[in-house]
């Protein structure tokens, strides 16, 4: 069996099936929905950071652009939710194209510039003078399209597509060329890789993922404020989850979300007063002992981690 098929059968299919079936057994659908959102976002970070090497501290910008693209299409154009998801994707892709020059930066400079770009978009959208267009700081209400079960199903479908994208990157020559760019862009150029084109494609792929999941987030919650969908927590969580599990793999970000977001919710409910302490200790431990993520343990033991 080819490696990609194995990855689809033994990693993607079980995760997607679990997220699709869990609402039947567990009543807190919002919590499960948030898991789906972070599973997708962590993989989006995986595409641009894990494979290509750009740390997107302002990743939430695409998420918010998707949420607002969706909402404004519903409000102003009176589109149905599915076409409006297309508008969300389009908004994220337009933002991605506008921000492509940032890819000329690297390392911390890229991360900071990306963070600033997301903040700028947040400030523009929540500007009270734009209330007629964006509803400004007063937020969005989409009660007309509210449909939790349908939007949950679509979110799981998006997660499935995102995981398939990462399986493709993990097993294709294109994914290999992205990793070459991450390791050394000059050598990648001398290996014949069109560095600018490839990194732009990866950037837009990750913008696409965040945009579409941001759109479905707006649809699912239906009522939100700009600081909900532009919260830096989305960027930070998605990055921390991906790093905790281990990037440039399919399983790493999944493990990261399952473990860290699981702990986050468990201690958030049971002992919220210790939450930051426990979380801080976990992350310090990770940085000190497993800088390449959980899956690096298995890699060191010689396994080919999917």
């Amino acid at each position: 069996m080819p490696r990609a098929v194995q990855h689809l059968a033994f990693v993607v299919a079980p995760v997607v099936a679990a997220m699709a079936l869990l609402p039947l057994a567990y009543s807190n659908q919002l919590l499960l929905f948030n898991f789906v959102v972070f599973l997708a976002l962590a993989q989006g970070v995986n595409v641009i950071y894990g494979f290509t090497g750009y740390l997107p501290f302002g990743y939430v910008g695409f998420f918010g652009a998707g949420a607002y693209g969706f909402s404004l299409a519903v409000i102003h154009l009176e589109w149905g939710p599915l076409p409006a998801l297309g508008a969300g994707v389009l908004a994220a892709l337009v933002l991605g194209v506008i921000l492509t020059p940032l890819l000329r930066l690297s390392g911390a400079y890229f991360a900071i510039a990306n963070l600033a770009a997301a903040q700028a978009l947040f400030q523009i959208i929540s500007n009270p003078n734009l209330t007629d267009i964006t509803k400004g700081p007063y937020g969005i209400s989409l009660s007309g399209v509210f449909s939790p079960n349908f939007s949950y199903g679509i979110a799981v479908g998006i997660l499935a597509a995102t995981l398939c994208l990462v399986v493709y990157l993990r097993n294709s020559k294109f994914g290999l060329s992205l990793q070459a760019i991450r390791e050394d862009a000059i050598s990648a150029g001398m290996a014949g890789v069109n560095v600018v084109r490839s990194r732009t494609i990866a950037w837009l792929m990750s913008a696409f993922v965040a945009g579409v999941i941001g759109g479905v987030f707006a649809w699912y919650v239906s009522v939100f404020y700009p600081d909900t969908v532009f919260s830096p927590e989305f960027s930070i969580f998605a990055i921390v989850f991906a790093l905790f599990g281990g990037v440039a793999t399919i399983t790493g970000p999944i493990l990261g979300v399952a473990i860290l977001y699981g702990i986050y919710n468990a201690i958030g409910i049971s002992t919220p007063q210790y939450f930051q302490l426990i979380y801080g200790v976990l992350i310090v431990g990770l940085v000190l002992f497993l800088p390449n993520g959980l899956v690096s343990i298995f890699k060191r033991l010689g396994y080919d981690v999917p």
Binding site: L176, D184, I186, S187, M190, A191, V193
Partner: protein
Amino acid sequence: MFPDRPSNASGEPLLRIDALVKRFGGFRALDGVSFHVKAGEILGLVGPNGSGKTTCINVISGLYRPDGGAIDYRGRSIGGLKSHKLVHLGINRTFQVPKPFLTLTVRENVEVAATYGRSEGGALDIEALLASLELDAQASRPAAELNSVQQKMLDLARALATKPRLLCIDELAAGLNPAELDRVAEKLRALAREGTALLVVEHLMGFIDHVTDRVIVLNAGKEIFEGALSAAVRDSQVVEVFLGTEDGS
């Protein structure tokens, strides 16, 4: 020291550099360099530190845009083209300090170049290429685990996987032991026999003498000598830039 051998060079120049200029701020790293290389020829590029040898290769391989002059390759002007386009045209290079893709395996390193680096089709035998550079035993290991000589060989393998017509070699010989030097020299000569043009930057004069047909001596961004190495060492200007004048000025 080494037996004479016939040059493989033939026909029109593959690469012709004319009055090439590269400035960094007010500093002219290349100040009107001109030379040419023919298919099958091994041209040495020598000169003191800072004379512009590596800059020359960087401009030819598209890392820097030239600020003046012309670079003609197979009858077309290629000055300022991006690296990957030059790679597709058949130009490649090795790096003085190799930059392999450290987390990828040795085989994957070469696969990237074999997949993206060739404009012409046809299968490339990656295993044979690795074996010819004695990297076959390391093929499944990450490039980060190689020693510095193996990383240099991997850099050469990455370049060769693109089947270059013009290969620029930037100080490949430094740090190699005599047996490795012999093998690398033989490899380069074999490439030239197959018709590849080679531009070899090197400080080891024994190696230059061993492999090159002709040398260009650079000083301060200009070529000051062109011809056989044996003639270069008798040239008073060349002796002066390498050793200084007798009165120490």
